[in-house]
């Protein structure tokens, strides 16, 4: 939760209204979606008990209150008719993370549901129903070493209540959370236009904080992705960050730079960061 909570929520709702395909769910995922919804509610309540409250009224009847967005909703667990919309779609605008649900079966994980409004050049609509290995097909340097298999093995062993956290990064031109494949025509050309004096304000480091959680009762894995954008000029204010980012960008292998979509401007970014020293 931070100061942009309300505006992020409004942005998510607007995006879901103009492009409902940002919310994807295969039919067998409904139990996992209910599980994810109530899991997120109880996490929100734990983080900010003053703002969020999930109360059990009876065995399967619950009441959810979100004071920040003025939402109050009573629902019966598992009964779709008691929510104004599908459970995943209901909770997604109330949390600043993108949500992806992985079903586990037949020795694999499958991305079978999700609400993604801040994708970094990928698409939930395209990925829905794909296996973990298929989704990671395009990642360079990963497959030969069996690394994706190991990551999947690792995730499949998560037991209920266990959670893991990792971060991932790339760069984005402009303060733009939504760089999904669907809107590529809007943001893609920006990748070519950044160079120049305004690089410090226009080019952003995009950091994703990802949590992976085994949901308690459906056994699905919930993948939460929270995206933060920081312009180079802010990074340059902290000498240790500035030097580290310059070094990482300079040394990044070409195939990784291509994969992250930053090949065109990464050297310009390195030069800018070094001259800001």
């Amino acid at each position: 939760m931070d100061e942009s909570y309300e505006s992020d929520s409004a942005e998510c709702l607007a995006l879901l209204a103009t492009d409902p395909s940002r919310c994807q769910e295969l039919p067998h995922m409904r139990p996992a979606c209910w599980d994810a919804m109530t899991f997120v509610m109880s996490e929100l309540q734990e983080a900010r008990p003053d703002a969020f409250n999930l109360e059990r009224l009876d065995v399967d009847t619950w009441r959810w209150r979100n004071q920040l967005l003025g939402i109050e909703q009573e629902f019966v667990y598992g009964d779709d008719r008691t929510l104004p919309t599908d459970p995943l779609r209901f909770i997604a605008p109330q949390v600043q993370d993108d949500l992806v649900l992985l079903d586990q079966r037949e020795g694999s994980l499958w991305a079978d549901a999700g609400v993604v409004t801040a994708a970094a050049d990928w698409s939930m609509r395209f990925d829905v129903g794909m296996s973990f290995l298929e989704i990671h097909g395009p990642v360079p340097r990963v497959h030969p070493a069996g690394v994706v298999d190991r990551a999947q093995e690792f995730l499949m062993r998560l037991q209920p209540g266990e959670a893991y956290r990792r971060t991932n990064w790339t760069m984005t031109v402009g303060r733009r959370l939504d760089t999904a494949t669907e809107t590529y025509p809007e943001w893609g050309p920006d990748r070519r236009l950044v160079l120049g004096q305004d690089i410090g304000t226009r080019l952003h480091l995009r950091v994703e904080v990802q949590h992976l959680v085994r949901l308690p009762s459906s056994g699905a894995v919930l993948f939460l992705i929270r995206t933060y954008l920081l312009p180079l000029q802010d990074i340059a204010r902290v000498p240790a960050w500035r030097d580290r980012l310059a070094a990482v960008l300079a040394e990044l292998p070409q195939d990784m730079a291509d994969y992250k979509g930053i090949a065109r401007y990464r050297h310009a970014a390195v030069d800018w960061l070094r001259s800001a020293a």
């Binding site: 065995v59 667990y77 598992g78 020795g107 970094a120 209920p160 209540g161 990792r166 009762s217 992705i225």
Partner: protein, 328 residues
């Protein structure tokens, strides 16, 4: 594309909220002759972790740790219930449970899931023998809640069936009761032969039943990934041939007699191996194998991992040859 790319290789472990549970007994009753149902709540009155259908609870029973299926609902459970058959000649776990009294406090781990329903199954064929009904109760309840198609074939001795009343109410005509063993086996064969495409099979019961069902499923060409089994205990496994475990790193040799598990033999020599369920389901006691061919008897390793033969779940698995070289 942002998902688990390279740095997922070294994920950082967030404080995985996995502490042990303290449970207080709130209710006890005879579910059938010799079968006792025990209901627990959290000793501190707090919430209990939820769990998928088919999960088990590892209870500390005196100096033993035993896994028991949770029979109650797994969504935000207010209590946990297990049903335990008294085995007078067993290793003490069931006797411990049968001595519990209301108000007693016991230690347990968070529920673990190793026998969960497959969400994409077109139909769930549940086969239970005797006390093997316990995980099926939670499977049936979940199937009813989500409107999933299922059939439950329950074989039991007449008058000795646990949870019958509850099952009849829950399942209606989706429950078939089979007091006659031959009829039960014939009916299973028929159900396996006529199951609609996309059906998943779940079996829990005594070893002979499990073996018969698995063999039949294999004959009929059921793909292994549609077949799910749960053995109730390692006590069900045969004692096995003796062998020698050779500890390559520390240079020791440990003799593993018939009837003693590799884990117990290692512990007897003061070699500590992390473990939990001691029945081949939790995955804690995995030991790397350097040479020799493991005889896998666990329910934890995947098909591929078994074939690789480079690790063994030492609480139940043994060696096919006279020696097994371990990276210990």
């Amino acid at each position: 594309m942002t998902t688990l790319s390279p740095s997922a290789l070294a994920p950082t472990r967030a404080p995985a909220d996995r502490g042990a549970l303290r449970l207080r007994v709130t209710d006890l009753h005879e579910a059938a002759p010799g079968i006792r149902s025990v209901t627990f709540v959290a000793a501190d009155g707090g919430p209990l972790p939820g769990h998928p259908a088919g999960s088990h609870l590892v209870l500390t029973c005196g100096d033993r740790r035993n896994a028991y299926s949770l029979t109650g609902p797994g969504v935000a459970p207010e209590s946990y219930t297990i049903s335990v058959l008294l085995l007078p000649a067993g290793q003490g776990g069931s006797q411990f449970v049968h001595r519990l009294e209301v108000g007693d406090v016991v230690d347990a781990d968070r529920p673990r899931s190793a026998f969960a329903p497959v969400s994409t199954a077109r139909h769930h064929l549940l086969v239970a023998g005797g006390i093997g009904i316990t995980p099926m109760l939670s499977h049936a309840r979940e199937a009813v809640r989500w409107g999933r198609g299922f059939t439950l074939l329950y074989g039991h001795r007449a008058g000795a069936a646990a949870h019958l009343h509850e099952l009849r109410q829950l399942c209606g005509d989706r429950l078939e009761e089979h007091p006659d063993r031959e009829v039960f086996l014939a009916r299973i064969s028929q159900a396996l032969a006529t199951a609609r495409l996309g059906t998943h099979l779940y079996v829990c019961g005594p070893a002979p039943l499990l073996d018969a069902v698995l063999q039949r499923a294999e004959q009929l060409g059921w793909p292994p990934e549609r077949v799910h089994t749960e053995r109730f205990s390692a006590a069900d496994l045969d004692p096995g041939e003796p062998f020698v475990a050779s500890l390559v790193r520390s240079g020791g040799q440990v003799v593993v007699p018939s009837g003693v598990s590799l884990l117990a033999a290692l512990e007897g020599e003061g070699v500590r191996v992390p473990n939990m369920c001691r029945q081949g389901v939790c995955g804690e006691c995995r030991v790397p194998v350097l040479a020799g061919l493991p005889l896998h008897r666990d329910l934890f390793l995947s098909e591929a991992e078994r074939a690789a033969g480079d690790s063994v779940m030492c609480c139940v698995s043994r060696s096919t040859g006279p020696t097994l070289e371990l990276d210990l």
